[in-house]
C-alpha cells in the first residue's frame, strides 16, 4: 500500500486525509484479523504474538508512507497505530509540493526515485507472493497527485506483472485549491496510461453519505435498531462527533471500501474473488478501467438475523446514486460490467434472486448483457451481519471527467498560474495539451458507448460450418 501524502491539502479543506485514512484502514483490519488469517496487507514480525488488548506491535503494515511534508506522517507515527507502521518505510521531505503537480512529479520524482525503488524492493521481499499494489492519493494537490502518479510509472517498470490499483480522491466542485484542475488533469493522463484499475472517489459524495447516516441515526426513526457504533465510526469516537472531524468518518468509508475489496482474498467463502479477478472481469478494454464503487448497508442493525426484506434492500441501495462514492448515477447510464462482492451470511440464492430482480432496471452494453461478477465471502465486517460492495464499470463516470476538463479549460485559456508549472524543468505546454487530449479521448470512448445505449441488441451472424 503506497500512500503518497495529500498533505498540502491539509492546509486547506482537507486536514490530513492521509492520516485518518491510514488509521481506520489498519485499525479495522486489525480488528478483522484473526490469528493465522491471511496476511495480505499486514505481515507478522518477530514471534508473531497474537493481538490482545490493543497490543499490535507484532504486526506491521505492508505499506510505505510518502509525503513531502512531515506533519501528517509524524502524526501517524505518534498515534495509536505507530507500531504498525515500519518507521523505515517512509519517505518524507520538508518543503511540500506547493499544490503543484510538476513539483511532485518532476522534482520529487527524480529526487526520490532511488529511495522509492529501494523501499519498494524491501517491501516486496517480505512478500511470499506479491499480487498487487494499492496506491492511495488525491488528484488535486501536488504530492499525492504528482509524486503519486510518478510512482505508478516506477511500479510498472519495476514490477510489470503486479497489478496497480489506485484509489483517487477527485476534487469536488467547491475545491479551494485553485490549481486542482491542472493537477488533476496531469494526473489523469498518468492514470490512463499506468494504472490497471482506478476507483475514483470524491469528498462531496462521502460527505453526503455521512450526512444521510446522521439524519437517519438522529431522527430516531429506526429507534433502538440502530447502534451508535457503525461502519463509519472509528473506534476512537462515536458517530456524534463526526461534525467536528468529518474526514474521520469520510475516510473510514474509503477504508471500508478497501477492506471489502480485499475481504474475499483474505477470508474464506463459497465463491472467492481475488484482486486479479477484478481487473480481469471489470476491464474490458485497457483504457476503460475506471470503476464506480458503492458500499451498503451504511449502518448496523441490532438484529443479526436480518429478514430477507432488509437483505434485498442492501442490494437495491447499491445501485442508487445516493450510495455511490462519486457523483454518479449508474442506473441511468450504461453498464459495461458490474461486480458484487458480498460478505456475511448471504448465499448464492439470495444473490441470484437480487440480480434477477434488479437486472431489468439496469442497462448493459450489447456485448455483455449478463455482465455480472459475483463473490461470496463468509466473514462479515465488524459490527455487521452482511455487507455489499458493488463495483461498476459504467459510463456514469463520464460527467466527472467532463467537468474536470471544463474546469481545466477555463483556467488554461487564461494561462492562470501556468508559470508555476512551466518553470519546473521538464514541463512544457505540450504536457498540458497532451493531458487534455488524453482525457478527451477517454471521454469520446464513453460517448461512443453511450450512443449504443438504446440500440436494439442484435445477434451477430455466426460462423457457419459444413456438416
Amino acid at each position: 500500500m503506497w500512500i503518497p501524502g495529500a498533505s498540502l491539502l491539509t492546509k486547506f479543506l482537507l486536514p490530513s486525509p492521509l492520516l485518518v485514512m491510514a488509521n481506520p484502514f489498519t485499525e479495522y483490519y486489525i480488528v478483522e484479523t484473526q490469528p493465522g488469517s491471511n496476511s495480505l496487507l499486514i505481515r507478522v514480525v518477530g514471534d508473531g504474538g497474537s493481538i490482545s488488548k490493543g497490543k499490535i506491535c507484532s504486526l506491521k503494515a505492508r505499506a510505505v508512507l510518502i509525503d513531502m511534508e512531515e506533519g501528517v506522517v509524524n502524526e501517524i507515527l505518534q498515534g495509536p497505530l505507530r507500531d504498525v507502521f515500519d518507521s523505515k518505510q517512509l519517505i518524507t521531505d520538508i518543503s511540500g509540493s506547493g499544490n503543484n503537480w510538476a513539483v511532485g512529479h518532476k522534482v520529487f520524482g527524480s529526487r526520490y526515485q532511488e529511495e522509492i525503488l529501494e523501499k519498494l524492493r524491501k517491501s516486496a521481499e517480505h512478500c511470499d507472493c506479491l499480487q498487487c499494489f494499492f496506491v492511495i492519493h488525491s488528484m488535486g494537490g501536488g504530492t499525492g497527485s504528482g509524486l503519486g502518479t510518478y510512482l505508478l510509472k516506477v511500479l510498472e517498470d519495476e514490477f510489470p506483472e503486479v497489478y496497480r490499483f489506485v484509489t483517487s480522491v477527485y476534487p469536488s466542485g467547491e475545491d479551494d485549491v485553485i490549481t486542482s484542475p491542472y493537477n488533476s488533469i496531469l494526473a489523469m493522463k498518468e492514470l490512463n496510461e499506468h494504472a490497471d484499475c482506478v476507483l475514483p472517489i470524491d469528498n462531496q459524495s462521502l460527505f453526503d453519505i455521512i450526512s444521510k447516516i446522521d439524519l437517519v441515526v438522529n431522527s430516531g426513526k429506526l429507534g433502538t435498531t440502530i447502534k451508535p457504533k457503525s461502519l463509519v465510526t472509528s473506534s476512537a469516537g462515536t458517530f456524534k462527533k463526526w461534525q467536528e472531524k468529518p474526514f474521520d468518518a469520510m475516510n473510514n468509508i474509503v477504508a471500508n471500501l478497501l477492506l471489502s475489496l480485499t475481504s474475499s482474498a483474505r477470508f474464506e467463502g463459497s465463491l472467492n474473488m481475488d484482486l486479479n479477478e477484478i481487473s480481469m472481469n471489470l476491464v474490458p478494454f485497457p483504457q476503460l478501467h475506471y470503476l464506480v464503487s458503492s458500499l451498503t448497508p451504511l449502518y448496523t442493525l441490532a438484529d443479526v438475523n436480518v429478514p430477507p426484506r432488509r437483505l434485498d434492500q442492501m442490494f437495491s441501495d447499491a445501485f442508487s446514486k445516493d450510495h455511490q462514492l462519486i457523483r454518479a448515477d449508474p442506473k441511468h447510464s450504461l453498464y459495461l460490467a458490474c461486480a458484487l462482492m458480498v460478505r456475511g451470511n448471504v448465499q448464492i440464492s439470495d444473490l441470484r434472486r437480487n440480480i434477477e430482480r434488479l437486472k431489468p432496471s439496469l442497462q448493459f452494453v450489447s456485448w455483455n448483457q449478463e455482465g455480472w461478477k459475483t463473490s461470496l465471502c463468509s466473514v462479515p465486517p465488524v459490527g455487521h451481519s452482511h455487507s455489499l460492495l458493488a463495483l461498476a464499470n459504467n459510463t456514469c463516470v463520464k460527467p466527472t471527467f467532463v467537468e474536470l476538463r471544463e474546469r481545466f479549460l477555463r483556467l488554461y485559456k487564461k494561462k492562470a498560474h501556468l508559470h508555476h508549472y512551466l518553470q519546473i524543468e521538464g514541463m512544457e505546454e505540450s504536457c498540458f495539451t497532451e493531458a487534455e487530449s488524453s482525457l478527451s479521448a477517454l471521454i469520446r470512448e464513453y460517448n461512443q458507448l453511450d450512443a449504443t445505449k438504446s440500440m436494439p441488441v442484435e445477434d451477430l451472424p455466426r460462423l457457419s460450418v459444413a456438416v
Binding site: C129, S270, E277, N281, F285, S349, S366, W367, V467
Partner: protein, 475 residues
C-alpha cells in the same frame, strides 16, 4: 479397478469433497434391504474404486487436489479430516498463492507449464497406489481460471502420460446469468480443448441443480454447499458399484470403461448428462413411495422433453399408494407430455430447430442405472423404442441398463439416466452465441492475448464448437 480423481480450482475441490463424502456415507449406510454379505461386497467395491487404505484404518480418498490459491484446499482438507470418516492424503495437494484471476489463458499457458511436473508427480503417486487403474475423473468448472484453464492443460497431459487410461471430465456448467463475466470465453476455450483430449464430458448445470434444490428439495436459502451435495448425489448414483453380468455379489470392475463403451460410440459426440430421480428432502421422502413403472415413466419423459428435473408435484407430502394415481395425474400436467417421439413411417425430425419451444430430444445412447428393491422387475421397454434414438444406432446397442439390488443412499428405489443426447445443444449454443457477440467487439480479448492465447485460438474454438452443435443438431 480404481478411479483417481483430480480436483481443480475452488469448484472442483468443493465438489470433490462432497462427492467422496456422499460415496462414503452411502457405502456405510445401514441397509435394511440387502444382506450383510451383499453390503460388504458393495462396500469393498466402493472402497477399491475410490479409497485407499491407511495404517490406522481411516480410508484415504484417491484424489489429487490442485488450486492456485490456498484457502479452498485448506478448507477441504480440514473438513475431510474433521469428519472422522475419511480423509485426503497428507501430501496429495498442490497449491500456489496468486490464483488464476478467472483467466483461462493464465491457467493454461502460465500455471500449466510452470507446475506441470509437480502435478504430474502427485498424480503418479496416486496412480501407483492403485492395483489397477480404470481411469481418471477430473472435476472442474468452466467459468473460472484454474479449473477451466489448468484443467484443460492437465487433461491434455493425462492424455499424453496415460494414453491407455480413460479420462472423464466432470464439468460444471455455470449459471446463465454470470458468476464470472468472462465465463463464456473461458467455457468455449475449455470445451474446445477438452473435446480434443478427453474421452467423455459429464456435464452438470448449475441452473438445473439450483432448480432441483429450490423445487424438489425445498431449500429456502440455497448455498453452494446444497448445490454441491445434490451434484454429489447424482454422481454417486451413477458411480457407486453396480452388478456386473455375473449377478449378485459381483460388482462391475471397470465402471469407466463400461460407461464409455455404452455411451460414447463416436468421438464427435462426447457430451453426457445425468438425470436422477427421485430427489427430495428428507421430510418428503418419509411420506413417499415409488414404483419402478412410475419412476421410469417420468425419467423417459424427462429424457425426450429435455426436462432437467421431475417437476414439483412429487415433493408434496403425504403421498401414499392410494394417492398414487392422483399424483401421477398432477405430474402429468407439469412435465411436457405433448412431446412425443416421431411416429414410425413418418420422416424423422432431421434438423432440430433451436428456437422452437417444443422439440424432441434425440439420443445417441442411454444408460439406465437402477438401484433398490425389486429392481429386476422394472420394465424398460419404453427406453428401447427406436424412435428415441438416432438412426445410425440400433436400440440394442444404444440402450443399456445396470441393475443393483442394493439401494442407494436413503432411497428405496432410485434411477439414474446417463445420456448422450441433444440435451446440451441449447445451452452450448447459447454460450457460443454470447461468447461470439463479446468476441466481435473484442472486449476482454487483451486479457487473454497477454498470456499467449491469440484471436486465432478463439476462432479455432468457435469453429470446433459450432461443428459440435451442428453434429448434435442433425441427429
Amino acid at each position: 479397478m480404481s478411479i483417481v480423481t483430480v480436483q481443480l480450482g475452488q469448484c472442483g475441490n468443493q465438489i470433490g469433497f462432497e462427492v467422496f463424502d456422499a460415496l462414503f456415507i452411502d457405502s456405510h449406510c445401514p441397509q435394511r434391504l440387502s444382506s450383510k454379505r451383499e453390503n460388504e461386497a458393495y462396500q469393498a467395491s466402493c472402497k477399491e474404486r475410490f479409497f485407499s487404505e491407511e495404517e490406522n484404518g481411516v480410508p484415504i480418498a484417491r484424489a489429487v487436489l490442485v488450486d492456485m490459491e490456498p484457502k479452498v484446499i485448506n478448507q477441504t482438507l480440514s473438513k475431510a479430516a474433521q469428519s472422522g470418516r475419511w480423509k485426503y492424503g497428507q501430501h496429495s495437494s498442490f497449491c500456489q498463492k496468486q490464483g488464476s484471476g478467472n483467466n483461462w489463458a493464465y491457467g493454461y499457458s502460465v500455471h500449466g507449464p510452470r507446475h506441470e511436473e509437480s502435478i504430474r508427480n502427485l498424480i503418479q503417486k496416486e496412480v501407483e497406489k492403485c492395483d489397477s487403474l480404470s481411469g481418471f475423473f477430473i472435476i472442474m468448472s468452466m467459468a473460472g481460471g484454474t479449473g477451466s484453464g489448468l484443467g484443460a492443460f492437465v487433461t491434455q497431459n493425462l492424455q499424453d502420460q496415460y494414453s491407455n487410461s480413460l479420462k472423464m471430465n466432470q464439468i460444471i456448467w455455470p449459471y446463465g446469468t454470470g458468476e464470472v463475466i468472462v465465463q463464456n470465453y473461458n467455457s468455449i476455450l475449455t470445451l474446445s480443448h477438452l473435446y480434443r483430449s478427453s474421452d467423455a464430458l459429464l456435464v452438470h448445470e448449475n441452473d438445473a441443480v439450483h432448480k432441483i434444490c429450490a423445487k424438489l428439495m425445498n431449500i429456502k436459502q440455497i448455498s453452494f454447499s446444497d448445490i454441491n451435495q445434490v451434484l454429489a448425489h447424482q454422481l454417486g448414483s451413477v458411480f457407486q458399484p453396480t452388478y456386473s453380468a455375473e449377478g449378485s455379489f459381483h460388482y462391475r470392475r471397470n465402471p469407466l470403461g463400461d460407461l464409455m463403451e455404452n455411451l460414447v460410440p463416436h468421438p464427435e459426440f462426447k457430451m453426457l448428462g445425468v438425470r436422477n430421480i427421485p430427489q427430495m428432502s428428507e421430510n418428503s421422502l418419509a411420506y413417499s413411495t415409488f414404483t419402478w413403472a412410475g419412476l421410469l415413466k417420468h425419467l423417459r419423459q424427462m429424457l425426450i422433453s429435455n426436462a432437467k428435473m421431475e417437476e414439483d408435484s412429487l415433493k408434496e407430502s403425504c403421498i401414499t399408494d392410494v394417492l398414487e394415481a392422483q399424483r401421477t395425474v398432477v405430474c402429468e400436467k407439469r412435465i411436457d407430455w405433448q412431446i412425443r417421439p416421431p411416429l414410425p413411417g413418418l420422416p424423422s425430425l432431421s434438423k432440430m430447430s433451436l428456437n422452437k419451444e417444443l422439440h424432441f430430444n434425440t439420443s445417441i445412447a442411454n444408460l439406465l442405472i437402477l438401484r433398490g428393491k425389486d429392481v429386476h422387475s422394472a420394465d424398460l421397454e419404453g427406453f428401447k423404442d427406436p424412435a428415441l434414438y438416432t438412426s445410425w444406432l440400433e436400440p440394442v446397442n444404444a440402450f443399456n441398463v445396470w441393475r443393483t439390488q442394493r439401494a442407494f443412499s436413503k432411497y428405496e428405489k432410485s434411477a439414474a439416466l446417463v445420456s448422450n443426447s441433444q440435451f446440451l445443444v441449447k445451452p452450448l449454443d447459447m454460450i457460443v452465441g454470447k461468447a461470439w457477440n463479446m468476441f466481435a467487439s473484442k472486449a476482454y480479448v487483451h486479457q487473454y492475448t497477454k498470456f499467449g492465447i491469440e484471436e486465432e485460438d478463439f476462432l479455432d474454438s468457435f469453429a470446433l464448437l459450432e461443428q459440435v452443435v451442428a453434429s448434435y443438431c442433425t441427429l
